[in-house]
């Protein structure tokens, strides 16, 4: 990790400064968009910890976002909890759920795990529909207050910065090395004394907790409404796409992945010829396929290639 610090820290500092100054130049609508990018940033960061660093494929992170989002909505709707306070609650509750999902997930690997988490992603919104008395059914459950665009922008990017720092410290240290050992070879990891259950479950928990915070902010972003169809399968797929675009197993592409998933659907609605919501799917699908064909390691892989070129020059 040592040689990375000088390269990464200035970049992070510049990004933080730009982000802090941005709200003064953006309109309310664009601040909303920027907050959406922050939300995807957090979710992709979380998925990257699990899939990129620990090698456990998850297509179910939309479900953890739903859990975090409904935590916020329920606490705010029924108990009038301060929205800021619901964020750590969502973190903790999603962490617990992640651990609970992580325990049976120990039995699966590879494609089976992908499908099991996918099943989880499909089932959770259905549960919100089934217990509609408590969760408000398909109309959703509304938090007791709404917030301004600037409030949301500041909160979501602060959360993103804090969680990025947490992820960076966690992954750079002993835990991160253990995660990567589990990813690269489970047998080799066990034989060097790394406990597979502990690290896999921990990875699931942390990853879910990140997604939970993202979900909580997502609910605040949609005027405080938590709705089952907002947390559908498509959301899980978008996070996975974002993580792939960002590049799995590296933190430096996450912002690019979040920009891609957060902004592209909004930009492509203004494409001439097919500027409709279906045209948006077409463009999104095409670009995803093109990126996977041209940049199999995502933006992080591209950055690494540039870094190597510069080092050689």
């Amino acid at each position: 990790m040592k040689p990375r610090v000088p390269a990464g820290l200035p970049a992070a500092a510049i990004a933080a400064t730009v982000l802090a100054l941005l709200p003064f130049t953006l309109s309310g609508y664009h601040q909303g968009l920027a907050s959406e990018v922050a939300i995807y940033f957090i979710a992709i960061l979380g998925l990257n910890i699990l899939t990129g660093y620990t090698g456990q494929i998850s297509i179910g992170h939309g479900a953890f976002m739903a859990i975090g989002g409904y935590t916020t909505a329920v606490m705010s709707h029924y108990h009038h909890t301060n929205l800021i306070l619901t964020l750590p609650l969502a973190f903790a509750f999603a962490f617990a759920c992640g651990v609970l999902v992580g325990i049976p997930a120990l039995r699966f690997s590879g494609v089976y795990l992908a499908l099991a988490t996918f099943a989880f992603a499909v089932s959770v919104p259905q549960l919100a529909l089934k217990f509609s008395r408590f969760f408000g059914g398909s109309n959703g459950l509304q938090a007791s207050r709404t917030v301004s665009h600037t409030w949301l922008y500041a909160t979501s990017w602060s959360c993103a910065a804090i969680l990025f720092a947490v992820a960076w410290l966690l992954l750079g240290g002993r835990t991160g090395r253990a995660f990567r050992a589990v990813r690269d070879s489970e047998v080799a990891a066990v034989s060097t004394g790394i406990s597979l259950p502990i690290y896999k479950i921990l990875s699931f928990g942390v990853s879910a907790a990140f997604a939970g915070v993202a979900g909580s902010l997502f609910v605040i972003h949609t005027n405080g409404f938590a709705q089952p169809n907002e947390f559908g399968v498509i959301l899980s797929l978008q996070i996975l796409i974002g993580a792939a675009v960002a590049g799995l197993g590296s933190l430096w592409g996450v912002l690019a992945g979040a920009l891609f998933v957060g902004l592209l659907p909004n930009l492509s609605t203004s494409v001439p010829l097919i500027g409709s919501s279906h045209g948006q799917d077409v463009v999104f699908g095409l670009i995803v396929i093109a990126i996977m064909l041209l940049l199999p390691n995502g933006v992080a892989g591209l950055l690494a290639r540039f870094a190597r070129l510069r080092a050689r020059a």
Partner: protein
């Protein structure tokens, strides 16, 4: 002398039975389930009706699950766009009937188009990223969005109707009413599964495809064109998917989202059966269809919102007991 002779006697190798991966408890469980169904059908007409309807639904899950298994066996990846490809080919059939072609001619033309479609998809976008499972998964997710968008753009999101392939007649056997549609679906799907099985079992092409899937390097050495075999596998999977789509159409009608739920059930069915076993996929699909219909009929708590969660709860339960599915093998992992 005796010692020496003993040393040189080549022990005769017992002919190895091909492993089907079915253990005794699994077989006993399946037999018990069948007996339960037969007794239930004989004692209650509603039960019989639900069972037949469940089989008709299950056989659709089976077809799509089988197409997933075909691809999984060859390349160990899951095609998330399988359902959307099936949906697109069903729309193709719809377009053909709009041009005045009769239903069954359109049916067979569509199967041909689906085959070409599957091959083209494999060659154009899957082959370049074949080496990485996650890249293939993401490309298929991209295909999912792309096909969905294109079809919605061309045909709109509203319901379309095709001519019912088997008519709307019903048969009465005692108190039980069977829809001709359900029986037709069962027959068409079973015939296509059997044809596929025969292709794999009795033709040279099928042999080459199996070889390419099981031992790509060795198959290439004896002259099998592995890449083309994989492409043909995708084509055949698309054909099975097209059958599933065309058989779903009479009950769900044509809409861009028609195959999404079916795909989820097909995932469940394929994993139940072990993902590597074609027979497992078929049995998994049928079992899931019947089980969901019976639970929906007799368990009050299981309302329609819970259909998918119940399917996946069953799946998780089975996987926790047997992580490689009912018919799966455990793989030994080397470092």
């Amino acid at each position: 002398m005796v010692e020496l002779a003993r040393r040189f006697v080549v022990r005769e190798r017992r002919p190895r039975r091909t492993r089907t991966g079915v253990s005794a408890p699994v077989l006993a469980g399946l037999a018990a389930a069948c007996i339960f169904l037969v007794i239930g059908c004989l004692s209650s007409s509603i039960f019989a009706q639900q069972t037949v309807a469940g089989l008709a639904q299950g056989v659709i899950f089976s077809s799509l699950a089988l197409s997933l298994v075909l691809i999984y066996r060859a390349t160990e990846v899951i095609n998330f766009a399988q359902g959307e490809m099936a949906m697109a080919t069903t729309y193709t059939a719809y377009q053909l009937t709009l041009w005045g072609i009769s239903y069954w001619l359109a049916f067979f033309l569509t199967l041909g188009i689906a085959f070409v479609f599957g091959v083209v998809v494999q060659v154009a976008v899957i082959r370049p990223v074949q080496h990485s499972v996650i890249a293939v998964v993401i490309v298929t997710v991209g295909l999912f969005l792309l096909i969905d968008g294109l079809v919605t753009w061309r045909f709109g999101a509203d319901l379309k109707f095709m001519q019912a392939p088997f008519g709307n007649a019903v048969y009465h056997v005692g108190d039980v009413t069977f829809a001709r549609q359900d029986l037709g679906t069962l027959i068409v799907s079973i015939v296509s599964v059997l044809l596929l099985w025969a292709l794999f079992r009795f033709t040279k092409l099928g042999l080459a495809m199996r070889a390419a899937a099981l031992r790509p390097a060795a198959a290439a050495l004896v002259g099998v064109r592995v890449n083309w075999m994989l492409a043909i596998g995708w084509g055949l999977a698309a054909v099975l998917g097209a059958v599933a789509g065309l058989m779903t159409e009479p009950t769900q009608f044509l809409q861009p989202t028609m195959m999404q739920a079916v795909l989820l059930y097909a995932f469940a069915a394929a994993v139940l059966g072990g993902l590597e076993s074609p027979a497992g996929a078929v049995i998994g699909g049928l079992a899931l269809g019947v089980f969901l219909n019976l639970v929906g009929q007799y368990v009050g708590f299981a309302t329609s919102e819970l259909r998918l969660p119940i399917a996946f709860a069953v799946l998780l339960g089975v996987l926790l007991l047997k992580p490689t599915g009912i018919f799966g093998h455990k793989k030994v992992q080397r470092v």
